[in-house]
């Protein structure tokens, strides 16, 4: 059974709810005085507790004169959120500002506003998460999955509870409700009242739709039909004078979209066709990568918001810290620009870069060979990378090849294979060492110059998008020295750590950085490269 992740539906959901915020704020700003500054709504005291100072900031500590700047700030954040995922703190700010504005104008708030307050809260856990160490990684995965399912259930709950309330009334069960609403001057449209049969049919249709929606969306054959019915229903309710409520429901729909719909509807914004476009689909958020919930940072960790080499000697040799820091910086710089869609990690090991690309891609396939020193629970395909890859033509959008190419007897063959499996406009992101001692022997065959890399890529049919040196002479010297002293019988490891630390410090200074840049062309520690399949 193939599995589908929800990275794309989450991305579109986050875009949609921020688009709703933009719509709401732009439509509300002309009546800012009545809504927020000198509001018609009587003061609404919040429930006791510390959250009151967030949800009811206006009226507790924030002067209402600041409502318009607050709305403007929220508008800026919402506009940003339409295009790029917000960081956790920005998402928290968006939620708190929105809720405080909503409660300041509570008389104008509808169920749609409350729905949005709820989904914005849970969206905090869906957006890019806090930088974390290995221990917190698993907890965050649980929180993210919980938030995802709560948002999905929230939509169902809104329909289900409304339907139950309506079933306990008289007008809905007797087919009168739409007629009554249509003749209400505040809602309309009045012309419907002249057609009692139509209003009765519409009343029952709405009731049936709301009762069945919570069940129908769980099954693939009915999901699409009911969601289209929902779109029609909510667009129709715009004519009842509740556009914000109607749109609030609609913008939550993408959380229930299937990835393949999004690929079909928005091919340019969503990457190319998904690899699992046909066949049964198992809905599991954990399925971004095999055993994703077991993943733990190894070679690279995120510290203070920055990806860098691990300082745990079990995960990374003490003499490799500077090298790993350089590699991590390279990947962090390019992944955001180029990683998308279906990613294949060739020679994956423990998939050390998963943390860096997991929010950018929709599916991760891991390949490695049997001789690897890094047995991984995430492996999808076990094979020698020197042989034809067991993947279909144009079946991925991004390939990661980290510290692998030098271990292949015939690297050109892998280049050609990568070109074959990559979809058009897809990218290969790779790095290789240049000044590095023999490692993982006897499978250490090559060191490549920039000219060799460039020629090999072009011969395989790639366009070289980026080719940069990673580190220069200071890093090379630090690397060689620390590897030399590491094996001293007494204090060698401490000395190696010190050399690595000093190298890291030196190349962080202005003069160290200049020296590194000046010498990088001639004495690089390694290379980072981005290739594109035209």
């Amino acid at each position: 059974m193939t599995r589908e992740t929800h990275a794309l539906s989450i991305r579109w959901f986050l875009r949609s709810i921020h688009a709703w915020l933009v719509f709401y704020l732009v439509s509300a700003l002309p009546v800012w005085r009545e809504l927020w500054v000198d509001p018609l709504s009587p003061f609404l005291s919040g429930p006791p507790g510390p959250f009151m100072y967030i949800t009811h900031a206006f009226g507790t500590w924030l002067p209402s004169d600041l409502a318009v700047p607050v709305a403007a700030l929220l508008l800026v954040l919402a506009l940003y959120g339409c295009f790029r995922p917000l960081k956790w703190w920005a998402a928290t700010l968006v939620w708190s500002l929105y809720v405080s504005l909503m409660n300041q104008a509570w008389l104008s708030a509808s169920g749609g506003h409350q729905l949005m307050a709820n989904v914005l809260f849970w969206a905090i856990f869906l957006v890019r998460t806090l930088p974390s160490d290995a221990v917190r990684q698993e907890r965050k995965s649980i929180l993210r999955t919980t938030a995802f399912w709560i948002i999905r259930l929230q939509l169902i709950l809104a329909y289900g509870v409304t339907a139950i309330h309506k079933l306990s009334g008289y007008q809905w069960t007797h087919g009168f409700s739409v007629g009554i609403v249509a003749t209400d001057p505040d809602y309309g449209p009045a012309f419907l009242a002249g057609c009692p049969v139509v209003t009765a049919i519409l009343t029952y249709a709405i009731l049936v739709f709301q009762i069945t929606f919570p069940i129908a969306v769980w099954f693939a054959p009915t999901r699409r039909i009911w969601m289209w019915l929902g779109v029609a229903f909510h667009l129709a309710t715009i004519s009842f004078g509740i556009p914000d409520m109607a749109l609030a429901f609609l913008v939550v729909y993408p959380i229930r979209f299937e990835e393949r719909w999004l690929h079909r509807w928005f091919p340019l914004a969503s990457g190319t066709q998904p690899s699992n476009a046909t066949g049964p689909v198992e809905y599991r958020y954990f399925a971004l990568m095999r055993n994703a919930d077991q993943w733990k940072p190894t070679k690279f960790v995120r510290t203070k918001g920055r990806l860098r080499g691990s300082r745990d000697p079990q995960a990374l040799g003490i003499a490799s810290r500077v090298t790993a820091d350089l590699t991590a910086s390279f990947y962090e710089a390019v992944l955001g620009k180029y990683a998308r869609g279906r990613l294949v990690d060739l020679g994956c090991g423990h998939v050390p870069l998963f943390e860096a690309y997991k929010d950018l891609v929709t599916r991760v396939t891991c390949l490695d060979w049997a001789h690897t020193a890094h047995q991984s629970p995430h492996l999808d395909v076990e094979q020698d990378l020197g042989t034809p890859l067991q993947l279909e033509d144009a079946s991925c959008d991004t390939i990661i090849l980290s510290d692998v190419l030098e271990h292949l007897r015939f690297p050109e063959r892998l280049m050609q294979e990568m070109h074959r499996i990559l979809a058009s406009s897809g990218h290969v992101i790779l790095n290789v060492p240049f000044h590095k001692g023999l490692h993982e022997e006897p499978f250490d065959f090559h060191r490549f110059t920039r000219h060799a890399l460039d020629a090999m890529a072009k011969e395989a049919g790639f366009t070289v998008v980026e080719l940069r040196e990673l580190g220069g002479a200071p890093e090379v010297l630090g690397d060689v020295l620390s590897r030399t002293v590491r094996d001293l019988p007494h204090g060698g490891k401490d000395l190696a750590k010190m050399v690595q630390g000093l190298t890291g410090w030196f190349v962080g200074t202005r003069s160290g950085r200049r020296l590194s840049e000046r010498t990088a062309k001639e004495h690089p520690l390694g290379y980072g490269m981005v290739l594109c399949k035209p």
């Binding site: 439509s27 509300a28 002309p30 009546v31 009545e34 809504l35 018609l40 709504s41 009587p42 003061f43 919040g46 429930p47 949800t55 104008a105 008389l107 104008s108 169920g111 409350q114 307050a117 709820n118 809260f121 698993e138 649980i142 999955t145 919980t146 399912w149 259930l153 709950l157 809104a158 509870v161 409304t162 139950i164 309330h165 309506k166 079933l167 306990s168 009334g169 007008q171 809905w172 007797h174 009168f176 409700s177 007629g179 009554i180 609403v181 249509a182 003749t183 209400d184 001057p185 505040d186 009242a193 002249g194 009692p196 004078g241 509740i242 914000d244 409520m245 055993n291 919930d293 077991q294």
Partner: protein, 157 residues
């Protein structure tokens, strides 16, 4: 197995949240009193929501407030062309005043009177205007177009 454990945690968290939301939003007669109390404490601060728009029945009375100008003309306090958010705010004000009228109280609560004055502050002589509550109620739900008219003059404190 880590997957099973994580899945169990997620299922427990989602189920608890959904249960408490249901206890908070379902008709009160459906939910045990004790659970209602727990749900109130959990949901009210951060996750408050109501799903009662047009439920259990749509409002039978369309209530509005009209303003009497010095020349004897009455006009709606909120014009139908007014911004939809402002119109929506005026409706609960009118509904609330109408409910109190039904109990014989024609003196508007100070906090609502303040809101009515804010709505009329842009008129030429806002201090001289009079207010009245107008409700158009459905008499026979099978023929909702025929609505009875009730007008009650209001006293602002």
């Amino acid at each position: 197995m880590p997957i099973s454990r994580n899945r169990l945690i997620v299922v427990a968290l989602v189920a608890t949240h959904a249960l408490l939301l249901l206890a908070y939003t379902l008709p009160q007669s459906w939910v045990p009193t004790r659970l209602q109390g727990v749900a109130q404490r959990y949901v009210r601060p951060l996750f408050h929501q109501q799903w009662n728009l047009f439920a259990p029945d749509p409002p039978l009375c369309a209530c509005s407030i009209e303003v009497g100008l010095s020349d004897g003309i009455w006009q709606p306090i909120i014009s139908p062309q007014e911004h939809y958010l402002v119109r929506r705010m005026a409706r609960p004000l009118a509904d609330h005043i109408h409910d109190r009228n039904q109990h014989g109280d024609t003196v508007v609560m100070p906090v609502l009177a303040q809101a009515l004055r804010r709505l009329t502050r842009d008129l030429e002589h806002p201090s001289t205007v009079r207010f009245r509550s107008v409700s158009r109620c459905v008499v026979d739900p099978a023929h909702p177009e025929g609505r009875s008219l009730e007008i009650i003059e209001l006293v602002l404190p």
